[in-house]
């Protein structure tokens, strides 16, 4: 129904009119520019991540070509001879993170259950905030505290006891120094606890209260009710744990300062070890020669890919739970 347009016409005319409408449903020039600008900013961030993958891949190509898959399976890390095998770092990264989770998961579950299900709000709020503050303390500060407080404490009071009790296993043997996989794992446990417990709190809060009431109405005790809630939130809790794992895998400073930094694979938790992140932190500025640097960048690429997959999976799990139940998913 287009009659002749008068000067009152609402139609935008001109050369760029169709462009404006592609960019902006309102057909307003300012909107088109604004939307294009914001889109470019968003795409810039996407481009950054793609550039990151690209840069890490290109710069590690030398090492990838030279060692291929052997890079992941060799335990020989000898910069002087130009031999680079990443297994000690992979082992150290995985083991320290596992120790952290073994300690942190029960602790975080306890904290979350206490704060969401048991504590009255006037206690849960300030205490919850204090637990969150643990996440605000910088990694390097944990490292400093670890060197001068935690490591001596473990050396004198904890590790001898463990050696006496479990010395018959290969896990707690060897010289006791306070510096090594065990201490690195414990400092990581302290660092990921606020993260895991925060996500578990969100997940528990997202479990509908009708489920609690249903359980209570069936004559369940308080503890049985909590079990119902935990079972219901299980996928989200798994997501929280994996999110914590992702954080532990990439944590750098505190671990570097406490794990001993020796590229060896040893079953004993008391032995010094090395993580991927620590290796990069320690050796990157000292790396002489292209192959050495390339091997370190390849370590970075591995770390990037692993944390990418781990985090993606964790977010998927947490998002699924908090979305289904209409929760907030603050950390997801």
């Amino acid at each position: 129904m287009s009659v002749a347009r008068t000067d009152e016409s609402l139609v935008v005319a001109g050369k760029w009119a169709s462009w404006r409408h592609t960019l902006s449903p309102t057909g307003n020039l300012g909107d088109a520019i604004f939307r294009l600008l914001m889109l470019l900013v968003a795409l810039f961030v996407v481009a950054l991540v793609i550039a990151m993958v690209f840069a890490l891949s290109t710069d590690s190509m030398l090492a990838i070509r030279r060692f291929g898959f052997r890079f992941l399976t060799s335990t020989n890390w000898n910069p002087i001879k130009g031999e680079f095998g990443a297994l000690p770092f992979i082992y150290g990264t995985v083991m320290s993170s596992l120790i952290a989770l073994v300690i942190s998961v029960p602790l975080s579950l306890g904290i979350a259950v206490f704060l969401v299900e048991q504590a009255p709000p006037f206690i849960a709020r300030p205490i919850g905030f204090l637990v969150e503050l643990l996440a605000a303390i910088p990694s390097v500060v944990y490292g400093l505290w670890g060197i001068f407080v935690l490591a001596p404490f473990l050396r004198v009071y904890v590790e001898p006891v463990l050696a006496r009790l479990f010395g018959w296993t290969p896990l707690f043997t060897g010289p006791i120094t306070g510096i090594g996989l065990f201490t690195g794992g414990i400092i990581l446990a302290i660092m990921v606890t606020p993260i895991i417990s925060a996500v578990v709190r969100d997940v528990l809060a997202a479990v509908p209260s009708t489920q609690r009431e249903a359980a209570l109405a069936l004559g369940a005790t308080k503890w049985e009710t909590i079990r119902v809630v935990l079972v219901n939130g299980a996928p989200g809790i798994a997501g929280a744990v994996i999110l914590g794992l992702g954080r532990a895998l990439g944590e750098t400073m505190a671990v570097t300062m406490l794990i001993g930094n020796r590229p060896e694979v040893s079953l004993s938790l008391f032995a010094p070890s090395y993580t991927i992140a620590s290796a990069i932190a320690n050796e990157f500025t000292e790396a002489t020669g292209d192959l050495y640097l390339s091997a370190l960048v390849e370590l970075g690429l591995i770390l990037f890919l692993v944390t990418f997959i781990v985090n993606g999976f964790a977010r998927f799990l947490v998002w699924n739970v908090t979305r289904r139940t209409g929760g907030v998913g603050r950390a997801a």
Binding site: M1, S2, V11, V12, A13, P25, T26, G27, N28
Partner: protein, 280 residues
């Protein structure tokens, strides 16, 4: 007299304004708003089915019908406010002064300057009373000087019958006003840029009776200068303020008629059932 239904389908004839249209205008005019065969979709579900309707200039037309009948959705197609809802689609023609506002290339911003809107829930900006009314003037660069700006703000507040209550505290926050005052502020805000058509989506639904009657008086005054379309779920309100009434049911336009006829002798059985309270 105005609309005569021929079949049960919501296809209606164009209102004949041969005899005295209920406006103060003597001169015959083109319909200010004309809608032809308008369908509207939220995603895959169709909310409006083949609506055709004409709204003459400087009258008040009321849309009535049970909740979910599509009257608000239809109102929001008239200034393309539905565009802001993702996955919606309109099909058909909506003509303002003979120009289809849904054809490609429409400047929606300019459209909304000319077709103003007042919402169900008052939504003043978290700014001062003055700045709320001045907002539309500023962004549209209507006024040249600050004295002209304050003049227009004052006039709009007077038109919205709010001036006497707020003239001493124009600088205080709009959120400090009462619910009824906030709604009149939103009307003033819309009036300030002097739209040609004013859409009102249940403007009094959240207000007490005194505030409601103020808004209704206001609507009565405003039709001297504006074409007003008001959605209401309150039939008494429709009867009090409007010249013409349109009845919607399940996304279809059932009947358009003069308000007087609509509430005394409607053409349609469905209209009668609704008005006499047999459903809805």
């Amino acid at each position: 007299m105005l609309a005569s239904m021929q079949t049960a389908t919501p296809k209606i004839e164009v209102p004949q304004r041969k005899s005295e249209a209920p406006t103060t205008e003597d001169q015959r005019r083109e319909a200010k708003v004309a809608v032809r065969d308008l369908d509207f979709f939220y995603g895959k579900s169709q909310a409006l089915h083949g609506i055709s309707l004409e709204i003459p200039e400087r009258i008040v037309m009321a849309f009535i019908g049970p909740s979910g009948c599509g009257k608000s959705t239809f109102l929001r197609t008239l200034n393309r406010m539905n565009d802001v809802i993702p996955n919606t689609r309109a099909q058909g023609e909506v003509l303002i002064d003979g120009h289809d506002i849904y054809i490609a290339g429409t400047d929606v911003v300019e459209l909304r300057r000319r077709v103003g809107m007042v919402f169900q829930k008052s939504n003043p900006f978290p700014k001062s009373i003055f700045e709320n009314v001045a907002y539309g003037l500023r962004i549209n660069r209507v006024t040249k000087s600050s004295s002209e700006l304050s003049g227009r703000v004052e006039q709009a507040l007077k038109d919205a019958a709010l001036w006497e209550e707020v003239k001493d505290r124009l600088k205080s926050s709009a959120l400090s006003l009462s619910g009824g005052q906030q709604q009149r502020l939103c009307i003033a805000r819309a009036l300030a840029i002097r739209p040609e058509v004013l859409l009102m989506d249940e403007p009094a639904s959240a207000l007490d009776p005194i505030a409601t009657s103020k808004i209704e008086e206001l609507i009565f005054d405003l039709k001297k200068h504006y074409t007003i379309v008001i959605v209401t779920h309150n039939m008494q309100q429709a009867a009090r303020v409007s010249d013409q009434t349109a009845f919607f049911l399940l996304g279809k336009l059932i009947e358009v008629n003069t308000t007087e006829k609509m509430f005394t002798a409607p053409n349609e059985r469905l209209t009668e059932d609704y008005i006499t309270g047999r459903f809805g």
